[in-house]
């Protein structure tokens, strides 16, 4: 990680929510495309985002990560991206370790991790790249691959020379400047480029002044901003900025912040970076060196104090954090500084991918609401993404769900934890109903464990779904196994903390939606009942074989979430699309097998119960079109149970259908 760093950003947050006349560049970009361009931050380049934040005086932060060593480490890092992304970093960056095959397709490579951050987590990301001992062809190949994967920003570094006997190569990459020049030469203006600055001078530089001149060369060669090596005193950085400005460096210079998190990690880092820890810090730390909690607490306090001075100086537009892939300290520092977005405004109800190809995308089927990464994966080869309207044009091209992808969707919980949550031994279908019910209620199951996830929901219940908790509990208890739902909303402010999304001053709307697995007996009664709700309720009912019963138009999507905003066209980010539903159906049924059946031994009763559900249950979705009225979907379910409770009625009416 030493010598390698940068800064990155994410959501629109505060600066451009007015909807009024944006900058020239972003509107020129939109002049030939029919997208609402909900947020300039979604389409702008990193340098433009920085410019806008600097102009509005809106401080940002960015987060540096290194690639994980193991596959399960990768799964954990990706969920960390999701969690830390929600705090609103302007960007994240991923370091590059030449010895670790960083440009490969392995799940743990720098390239793959950065690409996942962009594509699946929607984070503006900077990929580090070192050039020392590399051929031009190899570097160009890396850059081409990065471009193809949707990466738009490069941290250009020399990298540590291997061995003591390193000498300059003629025409080779000897310094980061050479890499910056190469990127500009081969890729023109495509990449935003970051370079490293050394507030105390590069350890190998002849002098501090000489090092500053090298930095000026890097910037002059075409870098857009600077991220510095870590330091321990605010004045170190502020003097450095002053010196940079004095020799004509005008781009943003972002301080690298390292909250001390432990005695040994500090020692190691300092050694590698050839930095000196100031005496006043060592004096505090040495006495408590075996008390990790105390050191972390001090580290947080020290970082907060230093950052306050930096931000107050007026010289620092944003802070860059060396996270060491840990969350607690960095988030705490950001919280204390007031930079952590407690309630980041969502540009759309779902997390927007940061791949430039997808920048116009603003409509998705509701089915993947809890599995957005799966949706992104399965649509990654689309040439166009729906915007404004779903239409029917995008449906034929859903990709298969391959093993590779399932890796990134792998449950964060190990098999043992899953068995504790979902049952070591299932007695009957009722045991499964109980698992679903416990997931909804948050209560512990008989073996004393909480059900924190389901195959269709890797996270706890969304706040919005919580609004429906009581009703959901009631129906799951009786075998309506809900996997997706939303309440109806009739014009709540776009700033609503639970259901709001999009720019300020707007109104959001929803049609009530309910999606669940249930038995074929229930479906027979349900179909009877639904006749009474024509045409108010639209339904799609399908089993694993694809038997499909619907009262909806076979091609026409139903918009179930939409928003009205000042000075914009209507945005309708989620639809119930009949064609996509058939693709989703395969995935939803497969999850019974892939995630649940496989927990149990062959031929075991538990396994047979889940397999039976997979083979015989139907997947049902219901939309109540009458969004201004109270949702009738619960009444539909009530009516279904009432019908089932009067056996004669079922018999007679059933025979007429």
């Amino acid at each position: 990680m030493v010598n390698q760093r940068a800064d990155v950003g994410w959501q629109s947050s505060k600066s451009d929510s007015s909807g009024v006349s944006n900058s020239g560049e972003s509107s020129k970009e939109s002049s030939r495309c029919s997208t609402p361009v909900l947020d300039a931050d979604r389409t702008d380049r990193l340098r433009d985002k920085m410019k806008r934040r600097i102009e509005s005086g809106d401080h940002w932060f960015s987060l540096e990560f290194f690639p994980p060593r193991t596959a399960s480490g990768a799964v954990n890092l990706i969920s960390r991206f999701d969690r830390m992304g929600s705090g609103g970093p302007l960007f994240i960056d991923v370091t590059w370790h030449p010895s670790g095959d960083p440009g490969s397709d392995k799940e743990t490579s720098s390239m793959m991790i950065a690409s996942t951050a962009v594509n699946y987590c929607g984070l503006e990301s900077v990929l580090h790249l070192t050039c020392c001992n590399q051929t031009k062809e190899k570097i160009t190949a890396h850059l081409n691959k990065a471009k193809r994967l949707g990466l738009k920003n490069i941290m250009a570094l020399r990298g540590d020379p291997i061995g003591e006997d390193w000498v300059e190569e003629d025409g080779g990459f000897n310094y980061a400047t050479d890499l910056v020049k190469h990127i500009r030469c081969e890729f023109d203006d495509y990449f935003d480029i970051c370079v490293a600055g050394y507030p105390t001078g590069h350890p190998e530089a002849e002098s501090y002044d000489n090092d500053l001149r090298h930095l000026k060369e890097k910037v002059d060669a075409g870098a857009h901003f600077i991220v510095t090596q870590l330091f321990f005193r605010a004045e170190t950085f502020l003097r450095f900025v002053k010196d940079c400005r004095a020799i004509g460096i005008t781009c943003p210079i972002l301080p690298g912040i390292f909250p001390i998190q432990g005695y040994h990690s500090l020692r190691q880092l300092v050694k590698l970076s050839k930095l000196e820890v100031p005496e006043e810090i060592m004096q505090v730390i040495e006495p408590i060196k075996d008390n990790d909690a105390a050191i972390r607490s001090y580290g947080i306090q020290q970082a907060v104090e230093m950052c306050k001075v930096l931000l107050a100086s007026g010289e620092v537009p944003g802070l860059h954090f060396y996270t060491l892939n840990r969350e607690v300290a960095t988030i705490e520092v950001l919280r204390q500084l007031g930079l952590w977005a407690e309630d980041p405004r969502r540009p759309l109800p779902w997390a927007v991918s940061a791949h430039p190809k997808r920048k116009v995308e603003d409509v998705r089927p509701i089915f993947w609401a809890s599995r957005p990464k799966s949706y992104i994966y399965r649509t990654q080869d689309w040439d166009d993404f729906p915007n404004g309207r779903w239409g029917n044009s995008s449906s034929p091209a859903f990709g298969e769900l391959t093993d590779y992808y399932l890796f990134y969707l792998k449950s964060k919980s190990p098999k043992e934890a899953l068995l504790q949550m979902w049952g070591e031994e299932l007695m009957n279908e009722g045991s499964v109903y109980e698992v679903f019910t416990n997931y909804i209620t948050g209560q512990t199951n008989p073996s004393g464990h909480k059900v924190m996830c389901l195959p269709w929901n890797d996270d706890a219940l969304a706040p919005e779904t919580n609004l429906l908790k009581d009703e959901l509990e009631k129906v799951n208890r009786r075998g309506i196994l809900t996997i997706n739902s939303q309440p109806n909303i009739n014009g709540k402010p776009s700033s609503d903390p639970i259901v709001g999304w999009g720019p300020a001053g707007g109104y959001v709307f929803q049609k009530a939606y309910l999606e669940f697995f249930t038995s074929s007996e229930n479906v027979t009664a349900l179909l009877q009942v639904l006749k009474k709700y024509e045409p108010r309720v639209n339904y799609h009912i399908v089993n694993v074989q694809g038997k499909n019963i619907t009262n909806a138009h076979e091609m026409q999507p139903n918009a179930v979430t939409w928003g009205i905003f000042p000075g914009r066209e209507i945005i309708q980010p989620t639809v119930v699309d009949p064609v996509s539903f058939m693709y989703w159906k395969d995935e939803a049924f497969a999850l019974w097998i892939e995630q649940w059946v496989k927990l149990y031994e062959d031929e075991s009763p538990s396994r047979m119960i889940i397999q039976y559900i997979h083979d015989n249950y139907f997947l049902v979705n219901l939309v109540d079109n009458d969004f201004p009225l109270d949702s009738c979907l619960w009444q539909v379910i009530e009516d279904m149970f009432a019908l089932l409770d009067s056996p004669r009625a079922t018999q007679e009416e059933g025979s007429q259908s």
Copy 2:
């Protein structure tokens, strides 16, 4: 008109408003386009519309017209299309008179009239075509032209041979059958084809049976439906249908209905058609032959009685009316039969063009709300029409408003009438304010005339605008010269008689909109006032030179009308589009000159007043984005006048801006 007829249709009316699963063909058609396909009737072929209406037992009617002789006759006929189109015909048809240059580009040609009905009036139209004495090349050229103009239906006729010495040509077009075959051979399935049937046998046929066999040949050659010659007794038609069915003719057979409208027109028609008027009718008519009103009244009663018998027979899916280009009798018969749609459901807030190229169109700028024909004309060369979203892709290609087009937009009022309405002699700008105010209030002006139209509004105030009447009167009186407006609507049922549109079970919404000309003094104060209404109110303010003041995004349209429907995506049929507004501005300012200035002598004071307004006033549009609240636009105007009434304030604040 003799020997030439057919049937045509228009709006969705009753049969397919449920939104539930349409026929296979229409959905296949929509499978690759991203359109909401609001109404199957909008995209289906005439034969499919008939099929659906027959299946649902929903009787229709159609209207036959002949081309006018003069240009002003054409203007009148086009407005008759608009008026009679509102009653919901399934189609209209336009006859073909070989001697009148029917395929030419003259405003009065059959081709141009039928094309106008399709493109500008949104009517499903059938063009008659006769083949007798025509070359194949000529016929093919006519058909190609018809196709290019958006016509999809042909009434294939032989036409009356010219002169007594007509003989069959070998390989030429001797009978309508030859024309049907030719159309099918050259244009495959492109055209829907109608042929003529003779309930009493063709006057030149050897026998009734022989004539039936000819009809069977025409149908077998590829005709889709039959329209009959007029007749006077229901049993004549019903026997004919029975005979047709007996020899295997299965397509729809539509009775030609001729409400007797006068003694002489009846005599003439009967003579040309070689028909006999039944004795019982002649006995009633002869005694009252000089009393037109009595004859018309009898004709209406006779037609109603006969139609009732026809419809009750179960053999008649629709009625075809020979209108003789008159409205009263036909509309009265239809009213009495309950077929005239008193409140035809609008598929969109504006009249949809029936040109196949425009079938996906469902978004337009609001500016042309009162001049839809101008909008259609100026966008006729577009390759794609906006659907779902306006975006910014369509704006660069607005065509110029040429003289040719102005013909079809020509005021129905002659110059004298316009002078009476708008003032023989204007005293000052206040005289102009009075004209606008009188248009709004419907009161007579000092010279005793009502102002029935303005250059920007050729018709009386829309019912929706009437909702704003009091407020509009108040502001026009003070020089806010309104030319377009709509109230805000927060979710009224789509069936609302005044503001409703689209399929049943939906909800419609609007943002309040106001567009007006006003003086530069007013604009200065208005801009002061508008600062208080940021970002709630979006405005565009522009003068004839194109000086443009706005607080809206320079490229982003603002949706001001939208609808939410069961099982569909959101429809947003009108937007305020900044780019289009600059094209509209030219047209709106030009109308001062083209329609008003030109009424007066050169150098006359009246002329100079209008010219002054044209040169110095601004065109302003205002949108109140907060549609759930009461519109604030009237308060904006109030505030503007309040500021103007306190001169010191204007002076001081004005100098700061």
